[in-house]
């Protein structure tokens, strides 16, 4: 560019050949750095284009696009979570570098914080109780009523101040489900090495302990329904198999917020109940 410039006006002498050459090299380097930085920045869009991962966001998260736009990647939500359910995404998440997500199978959000602390911590409104007016609520994402936290059922204010679900639990592999097979379960639900923690109502409603420290012995598996922190979200029901025989099976109901406790606790490997992130309730 610089060497094609029209001749300089008389007062400043025309550039010498050497000077022009340095100028051109400098221009090339400038272009190089521009390309490098922009290329790196724009590569962030690749995962978006291929929609690589649908990750579970913390409770109260805005819809994905708005969430990615508004999150300032500070990690304050990470800091307040007593069970450290929230993680920050890495390079492979493109535009979502540094954005929080929950890997429910490893550590679900069990509302150990007794409220929804992560929402309170968020400085930008990426996690929020009340969406601003211009952001529509997707059909089926809204909860019919504020979910009742079983651990607080007897308190004056037993609800979680949550208006939208972050996903819905689904029995993805019914054939593997112990309840469907009529089997019970004995032992540590995820083995002795599992690091995840949970607030077991049966142990102490205040203190999350390691899942491995709380073994089970049940004649018919109902771990997912037993440990679900939200009232009326899941139950074990009698259903009819295609051949007409009676079976037991976990059934997910409308109050499910998608916290992921059922996915974390399910003793079958891989889990047969999972949270579909951003899924809405379909009656």
């Amino acid at each position: 560019m610089s060497d094609q410039r029209p001749p300089a006006p008389p007062p400043s002498p025309p550039l010498s050949k050497a000077k022009r050459q340095t100028n051109r090299r400098r221009f090339i380097r400038t272009a190089l750095l521009t390309g490098g930085v922009l290329g790196a920045a724009l590569s962030g869009f690749l995962p978006q284009i291929y929609a690589l991962k649908k990750r579970l966001r913390p409770p109260g998260a805005l819809d994905e696009r708005d969430f990615l736009a508004s999150c300032i990647k500070c990690g304050q939500c990470v800091q307040v979570c007593p069970v450290q359910a929230i993680k920050l995404a890495d390079l492979v998440d493109g535009m979502g570098v540094g954005v929080p997500y929950i890997e429910a199978r490893e550590q679900a959000c069990d509302f150990s914080c007794d409220a929804v602390q992560c929402i309170l911590a968020c400085p930008t409104g990426s996690l929020t109780y009340i969406k601003p007016d211009f952001l529509p609520v997707r059909a089926g994402a809204a909860l019919a009523a504020k979910p009742i936290l079983l651990a607080k059922e007897k308190d004056a204010e037993p609800t979680l101040n949550l208006k939208e679900r972050i996903g819905v639990a689904r029995l993805t592999r019914p054939e593997a489900c112990l309840a469907v097979q009529g089997k019970g379960f004995k032992g540590q639900s995820r083995g002795a090495d599992f690091q995840g923690r949970m607030r077991h109502m049966a142990v102490d409603r205040w203190k999350p302990i390691k899942v491995a420290d709380h073994p089970y012995d049940v004649a018919e598996c109902d771990l997912c329904a037993r440990e679900c922190p939200v009232k009326g979200a899941i139950s074990i029901e009698t259903v009819f198999a295609p051949d007409g025989r009676k079976r037991k099976s976990p059934v997910v109901h409308e109050p499910c917020v998608g916290c992921g406790v059922c996915e974390m606790i399910c003793p079958v490997e891989p889990t047969c109940i999972t949270i579909e992130a951003r899924e809405v309730w379909k009656a």
């Binding site: 962030g44 736009a69 999150c71 300032i72 990690g75 400085p123 930008t124």
Partner: protein, 312 residues
């Protein structure tokens, strides 16, 4: 500051002219003798650098410890945090979020306001040299670069400084158009801050790539030619009362200061015959790192708080 090369000044005050004239008249032998004497008795000072490193490490450590020991003093990371309950939000990140999301909540506004005020007081780009974790690693990388340059293994390939302004505009437009905070994905400041607090990740590879580029190719390239954060805080620094002041009189114009400076163009005023007044405040792009104050053998560069020097 936006990248145009500072030209030779055309208006020079009479007082400054006098000093320039006097310097020209001084006997060269005398001058050399004085210079040699000063050189011989010079003590290499690292006073400001030590203070700065201590502050930078302390601030970042406070983030880390607040999380790991749960002492809740400074929660969050450099992009946004709470200092004993007060919201603090990095100006550039806030700007990106506002542009991308097109919605601003009160906490965001409060945090941004507090930080704006804070850095107006402390001098805008002071953030760069006293807080930004990338600054510290880049400073170490610069040392390697200079060692290699001394052995003539590498040379500093300078790049057009207007590029930084172009990047600033580009990233603002990208955020506005795409609805994503595109810059945050590659901001080494954010990546390093999060890596320190929440544990390392693959994103550090990008930071490493930048450092390699700076060591082998272009000295301090990211901070000089790319980082929009630096420019944002630079603009804030225009209003700042805290700055470095140059006194023409005792200066030998050897340029030690310009050799150590991250943004040497702000020190062009120390070139012989350039200073427009007997005392010149150094421009807003200056990061107030104090390296030049340490380096100056004649004490011609000093920190000052505007207005206060008259009171004292």
């Amino acid at each position: 500051m936006f990248g145009w090369e500072p030209g030779k000044p055309t208006q020079i005050s009479d007082a400054a002219k006098q000093v320039h004239e006097l310097k020209r008249l001084t006997n060269k032998q005398d001058l050399l003798a004085v210079k040699a004497h000063m050189r011989a008795h010079e003590v290499k000072s690292t006073k400001w650098r030590n203070r700065r490193w201590a502050t930078l490490i302390f601030a970042n450590l406070l983030f880390v410890l607040s999380y790991w020991l749960d002492i809740q003093v400074l929660e969050g990371s450099l992009t946004a945090s709470r200092f004993v309950g007060f919201h603090l939000i990095d100006l550039n990140s806030a700007l990106q979020v506002m542009l991308a999301h097109k919605h601003i909540i009160t906490n965001l506004l409060i945090g941004t306001g507090t930080v704006l005020l804070l850095w107006i007081l402390f001098g805008g780009r002071t953030f760069c040299s006293w807080i930004c974790p990338y600054h510290l690693v880049a400073e170490w990388a610069e040392k390697i670069h200079l060692k290699l340059a001394e052995k003539r293994l590498v040379s500093d390939q300078s790049i057009d400084r207007r590029l930084r302004t172009v990047f600033w505009i580009l990233f603002a437009l990208l955020a506005l158009a795409t609805g994503y905070t595109v810059f945050e994905a590659i901001s080494p400041t954010g990546i390093l801050s999060r890596a320190l607090i929440y544990g390392p990740g693959l994103a550090l590879l990008w930071v490493l790539a930048l450092l390699v580029f700076e060591i082998f190719f272009s000295r301090r390239a990211w901070c000089r030619y790319a980082c929009p954060i630096g420019l944002t805080y630079g603009v804030v620094g225009i209003l700042s009362p805290l700055r470095v002041r140059y006194t023409l009189e005792g200066c030998f114009h050897e340029g030690d200061c310009r050799k150590v400076c991250l943004v040497p163009h702000v020190l062009d005023t120390v070139i012989k015959g350039r200073a427009v007044a007997p005392q010149v405040p150094i421009g807003p792009d200056c990061t107030r790192c104090g390296l030049c104050v340490d380096a100056c053998p004649t004490g011609s560069l000093k920190f000052e708080v505007k207005g206060l020097s008259k009171l004292l």
